[in-house]
Structure formats: C-alpha cells, structure tokens
C-alpha cells in the first residue's frame, strides 16, 4: 500500500508531504526522483512507475504539478496511478484549477482532503460529492457566509449522510427549486491518415456527461436511438447493469452535480469531417511544402477552431511558411502551428513555403506528422443519438437539456 504522497512543483520543490504509514519515507527520495526526471529530459518522458533503489514510485503530472506516491510492497499499479489521478481531479475541482500558488495558498485544505481520501495507505473516499460535504470548498460563497455568520470553519458540522446510505455517490436529499438535468455527448475523433491519403484508423471515443440538479432520489432512464453502434462501454457506478444488458437502456440514480455517466468507443468509422493534404518535395538542399485543408463531408454544422501543428525535423535550418488564411507561427521548439479557425466559403486554406536543410543534406528523409485540431458543435460524429430521457415520478417543473460536441482527439496526418 502507499506509504507517502508528495506534491512537487515544476521546479522539483516539495510543496506538500503526507506520510501515510508508520514507515516514514524520507524526503531525499524526491531528490532522487528529480535527478531521475532531469536525466530523462523531462517528466513526461519518464515512466509513470519507476523503481528507485529504495521505493517504487508512482508519478502523475498535471499542470506542472507532480503527484508522487511511494511504496515498498507489491501492489496493483493501477490502484496507485488511478488514485493519484483522482487526487489531482479532486484538488483541481476544489481549488478551481491546479498550480503552484493555489496549492501553497490552500495547503490546509489539501491536507484535510488527503486525510479523508486515504488512511493507512489505502484509498477510502474519492467521490467529490461526499468530500464536498465533509470539507467545504474554499469558494466565494463560503467566504461570504463566513463573513456574515462569523463562523469561519470550512468544515461542515454534520457528517455526510451518504457515508451511511447505500448509494455512496449521492448525498441524501438535496432540494432544488428548479429541477434541471443536462445531458452532453462529448466525442473525440482519433484518426491516422497515412502518406498516401488512406484512412488507416478512425474511431471515436465519447463520453455522456450529465449535470443533474434534481430534488430527492430521482430515478432516470436514458435511451439511445442507435445503441448498437457502440463498441465498448464503461459506466459510472450508478448505472444499473441489467437494463443495459437486456435493452440497452441506461437506468440510474444520478449523483448530484456534474459527472461522467458513461464512456464508449465507436470503431471503424469511414470518413473524417475535414481533409488535410500535405505535399513535400525536396531536392538540392531545399524542401517545398504545400498543405491544403478543406471540408470533406458537410454535416451542416460549422467546423470551428481548426488548427494544424507539426514538428519541423531537426535537420532543418530555417523555414519560410505563409498561408492564405489564418496565422502561421513557428515556436521556439521548432513546432510550426497554423491556426485557421473557420474555413472561409470562397477559398481553400493552404500553407506553402520552403524549408532550408542542413548543408550536407541533399534531400529530406524524416517527414513530419501533422496534428489536426477542430471542434464541431451540435453533432456527435459517431452518429450516436439520444432517444429520450425519462424521470420516474417527475417533479412539477423539470427542465431537460441536450447538447453534442465533437472535437479532434489524436488526429494525425502523415506526410
């Protein structure tokens, strides 16, 4: 089980230390870890699980903060990693973002949270809803309240009801004047297009996100028009398994607030919303680049925030690139970034220019991979459609809202 958790800043400074068991872990392990990270180039390149001479270390890096956990015994690796991810999620939820200052300003809350999330090295409560009842988040409302009432404690007087209830994700009996429930389909399209323009791989990873503000114990059912297209699904613990098995219906009592109801994958899609056609030809120490971007299939929705990024090969001395739409920037680490935004009606966006190679090189042998970003509001590209959302014993006033959004995930075009 985990013996100690450290929070390190992006310069390797220990911001927080939480010993969990009787076996104290000395801080010097952080020095070892930091040297290791530096020797690897940067923390993203080193493995999430490392064996140091004395301990096994789990590391998760979020927004420049390293969450480091140490253990000396064999344990399920995902338990360590998943827990650290949960810690970072909860902290950023509580503190409204993660950075060095916000953690240093609120370290007492961080200690309090860790105290409830893990005891003796074994994870306990990581449900944000429950934690919020035990330890009030440091928001403006509670600050105002404390000024008004003179009670400055951020700990609630009562123990959360849910620790005793058999629905661990839901606080007991919230009350709302307006009953609202919102369902969002958020999809990410992963695609690989090879240098011949063939779609090698194209799939969608999607999530159903629900934001629920419903009084009492609401029992919801959500059904899809075409559930058969889903390849593999994962559910929030609140989803009942049997109705899904037999009728592909999601039946659940939702947690209060925002949560991820389900995630799914849709494989083997046949087309992408946009095309990217890079052409590189090189001779005599120069390489001519020409990239075209356009809409392939019109979904009737506008495609927003189109971007294109690629890493210039290290053997390139200089680059002169211009575009007819949007802006082109070459960043310090030789990353070229072209932001197009929306595609104009009258012309096809194109990027062109020349790259100058190192003096000994005649032709280019290493070809860049173009990473594409885009966002389409109002459509789920997997084709998944919500049929209906029902609430057993519906309250008098209930507002239901649905939205969909697709954006590019790992969308790569090779040249």
């Amino acid at each position: 089980m985990l013996q100690c958790i450290f929070l390190l800043s992006d310069s390797g400074e220990v911001m927080l230390e939480k010993q969990l068991t009787g076996h104290r872990v000395d801080r010097s392990i952080c020095d070892w870890f930091w040297d290791h990270v530096i020797s690897q180039g940067d923390s993203l390149k080193s493995q999430p699980v490392i064996a140091s001479p004395t301990h096994y270390l789990f590391q998760v890096v979020r927004e420049g903060i390293t969450f480091l956990a140490c253990t000396q015994v064999e344990m399920p690796p995902l338990m360590g990693i998943e827990f650290l991810c949960r810690v970072s999620d909860v902290l950023s939820d509580y503190l409204g973002g993660l950075n060095e200052d916000v953690i240093k300003d609120n370290f007492v809350i961080v200690y309090e949270l860790l105290d409830e999330m893990i005891d003796n090295g074994f994870p306990l409560t990581t449900e944000p809803n429950i934690l919020r009842e035990m330890i009030a988040p440091p928001n403006i409302v509670s600050k105002v309240l404390s000024v008004v009432t003179g009670n400055s404690s951020n700990v609630s007087d009562t123990l959360p009801g849910a620790t005793g209830s058999c629905i661990p994700w839901r606080a007991a009996d919230p009350k709302y004047a307006n009953n609202e429930v919102y369902v969002d389909l958020v999809e990410e399209m992963d695609a690989v297009i090879n240098r011949d323009g063939v779609l090698v791989k194209c799939e969608v990873y999607g999530e159903v996100r629900v934001n629920s503000h419903l009084s009492g114990l609401p029992d919801l059912t959500l059904s899809f028009a075409n559930p058969s297209i889903l390849d593999d699904v994962r559910f929030h613990p609140c989803v009942r398994f049997r109705p899904w098995e037999s009728h592909q219906i999601l039946s659940f009592v939702p947690p209060d607030g925002e949560f991820k109801l389900m995630s799914y994958r849709v494989k083997k899609l046949k087309s992408t919303p946009i095309y990217v056609k890079p052409q590189l030809s090189s001779d005599a120490g120069k390489c001519r680049v020409n990239v075209l971007v356009g809409i392939r299939n019109d979904h009737g929705k506008t495609i927003d925030s189109i971007t294109l990024q690629f890493q210039l090969p290290p053997c390139i001395l200089s680059a002169d690139l211009t575009s007819n739409t949007g802006t082109v920037n070459i960043l310090g680490n030789k990353t070229c970034s072209w932001s197009i935004g929306r595609i104009p009606k009258d012309k096809t966006p194109s990027l062109s220019g020349t790259l100058v190679l190192e003096s000994e090189l005649e032709r280019l042998h290493v070809f860049p991979t173009f990473r594409v970003g885009f966002k389409i509001m109002g459509v789920a590209l997997s084709g998944l459609q919500i049929d209906k959302l029902d609430l057993k014993t519906a309250p008098s006033r209930l507002y239901k809202g649905f939205r969909a959004l697709t954006r590019a995930g790992e969308f790569e075009v090779r040249s």
């Binding site: 310069s11 390797g12 400074e13 220990v14 230390e17 009787g22 104290r24 801080r27 010097s28 020095d31 930091w34 993203l44 493995q47 999430p48 699980v49 064996a51 998760v60 015994v73 399920p76 690796p77 995902l78 338990m79 990693i81 998943e82 827990f83 650290l84 991810c85 370290f107 007492v108 200690y111 005891d119 003796n120 074994f122 306990l124 990581t126 400055s152 123990l159 661990p168 992963d190 690989v192 090879n194 090698v200 990873y205 699904v233 994962r234 613990p237 398994f241 995630s263 799914y264 994958r265 890493q311 090969p313 290290p314 042998h365 290493v366 860049p368 991979t369 990473r371 790569e412 090779r414």
Partner: protein
Amino acid sequence: MAPPAQSQRSQSPSQPSGKSEVSDLKLQLRQLAGSRAPGVDDSKRELFKKVISYMTIGIDVSSLFGEMVMCSTTSDIVLKKMCYLYVGNYAKVNPDLALLTINFLQRDCHDQDPMIRGLALRSLCSLRVANLVEYLVGPLGSGLKDSNSYVRMVAVIGVLKLYHISASTCVDADFPSTLKHLMLNDSDTQVVANCLSSLQEIWSAEASTSEEASREREALISKPVIYYLLNRIKEFSEWAQCLVLELVTKYVPSESSEIFDIMNLLEDRLQHANGAVVLATVKVFLQLTLSMTDVHQQVYERIKAPLLTLVSSGSPEQSYAVLSHLHLLVMRAPYVFSSDYKHFYCQYNEPSYVKRLKLEMLTAVANESNTYEIVTELCEYAANVDIPIARESIRAVGKIALQQYDVNAIVDRLLQFLEMEKDYVTAEALVLVKDLLRKYPQWSHDCIAVVGNISSKNVQEPKAKAALIWMLGEYSQDMQDAPYILESLVENWDEEHSAEVRLHLLTAVMKCFFKRPPETQSALGAALAAGVADFHQDVHDRALFYYRILRYNVSVAERVVNPPKQAVSVFADTQSSEIKDRIFDEFNSLSVLYQKPSYMFTDKEHRGPLEFADELGNLSIGEAADNVVSSQRVEENDKDLLLTTAEKEETRAGHSQQASFGIDDLLGLGMPAVPNVPSPPQLKLNTKAALDPSTFQQKWRQLPIALSQELSLSPQAVAALTAPQALLRHMQSHSIHCIASGGQSPNFKFFFFAQKYEESSNYLVECIINTSSGKAQVKVKADDQSTSQAFSTLFESALSKFGTP
C-alpha cells in the same frame, strides 16, 4: 529554486531562514495559549497555518511542540485538524512531549460530534509512540462500538496501526476477533472493507508464529466469507472492490459451476469506470479459468474490449499501466488479438516507453492476414523523428520476417531501408538482413545485390559493421569486389576500435580466402599479422589459431572455418517461459510493469534493516564466486577449440577445484566447512517417488502452506550453484526430486517434491534461492500436515549439505 533537501540549508530570500521566525512564533503562541479573548481562534489559525507551512517546506518546528499542545484547547475543527497534523508529524521524535497530547486527544474521542471523535481517534493512533500504547486500547475499544460508522471505520484502521506499534497489546485486547465480528456483521461496507484489509495484514503477520492465526487467514478465503463479500460487492466503494476482488483470486472453487456463478456475478465489474477495478476483475477471471482451457480462451475474448477501451480512454499514465498488462496477454495469446492490431499503432504524441510496448505487441500479433498492413505501418515509423523508435521499428520488421509470414514483401522493404541513406536505418537494416540470410539463404541473391552497393565507410556502428563483414565473407563468391573491400578494411585495422568487428574481419578474410584464394592472399596475410599483434586477447588467440591451422592443413582449416551451414530455424527467445508464467501469476501487480517476477526485484524490501548488514557481507562473497566461475568459463571456451575432450575434463576439474580454493582463501575467516547441520530426523522418503506435473500443479493450488521459512546457504553452496542442474542432482541423492526449475544467477527457483516411504503422502516445496544474498525462501506444502515439520528439517539438512564435498 533550490531542490527540497537543500531548502533547509540555503533558503531563497523569500523564504524564512528558520531560527528567528520559529522563536518568534513560539512567543506568539505562548501569548495566545491562555487567552480567551474573542477572535483568538482566528489569530491562532493564522499562527498554526504558518507553523504547518514551515513544516511543509522542511523547516524543523518541533521545538514548538509544547506551545502547540497548549493552544490545542479549542472547539474550532480546522484548528484541531492542523494541530493533529502537527502532532502526528513530530510525536515520534518527541515521545516525552507526546504524552502531553494524549489528554486532549482522549477528551476529543468522547466529543459529541462524530467527526471530531473520528479525527481524534485517527490522530491518537497515528502518534506511533511505543510507550503510549496503553492509552490507545480504551478509545479504540469504544471506537469499534461507536454508533457512527465514520468512527468505526477510523477505529478499525486504528487497530491495524496499533498492531504495528505493539502486536502483543493488540492481540491481548482481542481486537482481531472483534474486527472479524464487525467484518461479518457491520452494515457499513467501508467498515467491512477496512476490517478485511486490517485482518489480512494482522493474520498474515501472525501466521508464522500462531497456528490459530494461519487458520484464520485461510478462513478469509473460505466459501462463506467470499460469498458474503461477493454478494455485497456493489455496495463497496471502488477501492474496497479492488480489495475484495484481490481476495477472490486466492479462492479455489470446488466445482466448475461455482466458477461460472462468480464470473456471472462479476461480469459488470468489467465495465466499471475505475481501471483498477477492471484489472482486478480481469485477474479473477483469468485465475479462475486457468485449468479450463476452452473457457480461458473465451475469457480472453471477453476481457479484450474493456482493456482496449481502458487504453484509449484514460490518462497517459493509466493507459501505460493497462498497456503493460495487455502486453502480457498479447504475448501469451497473440492470436486472440490479431484482428485488433490497429489498436497497437503508435500515435505521434505518445511517450517512447508506450511506443516500445506497442511495437512489441505489433510484432507478436502479426500473422498471415495482417502482416502486410503491419509492416507498412512499421515502415512509416522508420522515418520517425524519434530515432530510438525508428530503430526499434526496423527491428520489429525483421522479427516479423523471421516469423515467416509474407517474407517476400518484407525483404523488399528491408532493402528499401538500406537505400534510405540514413546511417542508423542502414545500420539496423544490415543487422536484420544478416539474420534473415541465416534463416532464408534462398534470398541471398536479391540481398547481396543491394548490400554490395553499400560503402563500408558509411557504416560505423560495430554491430552493423560486423554484419556487413560477415556477409562479405559468407557471400564473397557473389560479390565482385568483396576481397578488395575486405583488403581496405584490413588496411585500416588500427582504426577499428571494436574487437567484435576485428574478430569478424579475421573470419571473413579466411572465408573469402577459401573461395577466391588468389585475390585474397595478401589481405589474409596482413590480417593474420595484424591479428597476432593485436592487444585484445580474443583477437590475438583467434588469429594465432587460424595461422596454426592453416599451417597444419589447409583443407582441415576450410572444414573448420567454412563448413556447409544449415539454415537457422528458430532464434532463441530471451525470456524463459517459466518467468513469463510467473509474471502472469502476478497479474495486476508491479511485476507486469517491470516485466520481471516480483522475487527478482522485491526480495530486499521484505527484510528488515537489521538483516541488511550481514546480507552485504554475503553479497561480496557471492560476487567473488561468480567472477571466478565466469572467468573460468571463458577460458574453457577458448580451450575447447584446441584440446581434446579428455584434456578438457581435466582442466575443468582442476579449475573448479581452484575456484573453490579461491573462495576459501577469500573468506579466510576460519568458517566451519559445514555450518551447524541439523541431524536428519526419523522420516524416510521414497527414493523412487514419482509425480506428474499436472498433479503437482493441482496439489500446489489446493494445499495450504504448511511451513514457510528463510534459510541461509553456505558460501560453498552459493559457489556450487552456477546452474539449477547442480542442485537438482544433489537433492535427488536425498530423495527429493525436482519437478521444475529455472532462473539465472543470482535468482533461481525450484519446485521439489518428495514422497513418504511406503506411503503415498506427498510433500511439495517451492524454493527460491538468491545467490547474491545467500538466502533461500522455502515454502512447504504437505498432504499430511503433521509431518511437514519433520520433512522441512530433512529438506533443510539436505540443502545445507549442498556444495560440500
């Protein structure tokens, strides 16, 4: 910013330097301690915050202990929490002052607010000061009976903490049986889960000394308990579910219908949002069906989709951990995943450790139907910016070629690599073409045409250069200018730094000489002269050997150097299947990520700090022995070339004697030759015992561990254990037979069995030996538990005689 450890010494200007601030705080705290003025809590809170923040950045504020305790009388819960945190951190170094805190903590344990009761109890148990345990028993006892589940949950973990401070106090207060009662009856599942984890730890620790505890530990994995937990599994928190699932993997169902019941019950856990739960479930499924081949295959099919989704949906850290497990499964059953190969395509942004795993998996799943696409994909990576990955992917192409699918297309690709004019690509491709030719000599014509065009000046890496030279020698009859290239290489003999390349060069020139004598003669002369004058022993020896054998008889030399070759059918695998199985048994653990079974990397951790010192002593002896043996081997290999078998036997015997003398000298401590051999007890074993592996496996799974102990090996035994076979023969002479063995120095693993004389009662032994520490971990299982102690003594005495003449 200074790294953490230095922050104590060299402070950056914005940070307080420590001393004066601490004494300042001390003064302020003292002023507040007795004050009852309104608003005092707020000023206390500011001060406490400052103290904690100093503590966090590593300034020693333990001198404030007394003042902090004085200020702790408050009703403000945040103040209390900060105070608990402070006290927990420094109580261990201030055991005397810690006594001061007992009073207020005990009082808080009776507070009206269950939250305060819980927090106080948690802090009380976290003090970890041995002479304060007497104050723990009372509050813990009432905590376990508390009406609020939060307090009970804290108290249960408190019992475990108490156990680690003072095991006897915990057992005397009869807490384990209270926990057992709570586990089976409490309404709150978190309390149940905490009881389970505490009991597992307590009883495992107690099991070595107490019969009852080991029975209790076995009872945890009995049918009633397992079923009770499984039926409530959906009520548990996700982490507690992992704990329960881990326990279930140890359960051995009595009949196959049970297996299906359990799997049906757990099936929806595969769709849980928490990856740890999914992996724990996968482990249950795999373990339960190990003995049922058909179902096991179906399980692979069933778990495939959830695992692949986990890989693509989680954060990079999570997907790496899942991918490592997937890697293990793919290596075991590649055919199951052969249609999912696209999931193993590398993304540009992925870190290289992920790409490397994926490349290995792509190699493994290649078969007739997908080879073409996989190889096409791999070839794209060869132009990758990440050079190590580009190399790795070329090697992958080569490995797939050696798996015999669609060789035709692959050879074309490899030859294209050779023309890519990137030196690392050329280098990797050359090595591959060499391996390919060793397996498929029929391709020599196509390959040689391309290889002949490569200028040896463009090849710098020793491995690639050696491969090129090997091909020049082997196919010199087909390559027009082979003798001249070799000649120019010989001319630059002194500039060649790698001994491997020079060795290959010698052999290649020899081969070339037999095929095209007139053109090569001068090069051969130059090479032999340079070789004999070489400072590297191996190169020198080989040159001398070639020279002498040529003088003796040229046709004999040709038979030796250039015999007709058989194509290699299978290249040796690097990781033994025994190790792979072992890793598989440890599914869902760190072993999978390190790709090593845990006994290869954790053994040091299980020992206390005290044993470390003598382990170090043994370590040096072990190393010395290893060195002696390995150098002896090298010499042997050299002599193999020259001596007849009879002579060889003699030198070998001489060497091993020398080796053991060497060790005796090294020790020079006057150690007794055989350290305290226990006299063999009255248990007779059947000398001709027989047991087939499947029965062994079955029994091993079913029987409980009767005995588990750690034995020390004599230095002689360590020295003699260079290969598993040595110990096998020795144990056989004591009627203890080996059923499976494996490992390499310093880690060996054996499974032994023995049978009682004229009875069919079996003893099974797992023995893990680490020669660098000189320790053997022995686990004994027996049909007849009552004689297991006698057998263990017999085993120990047999083991202790190992290595003595």
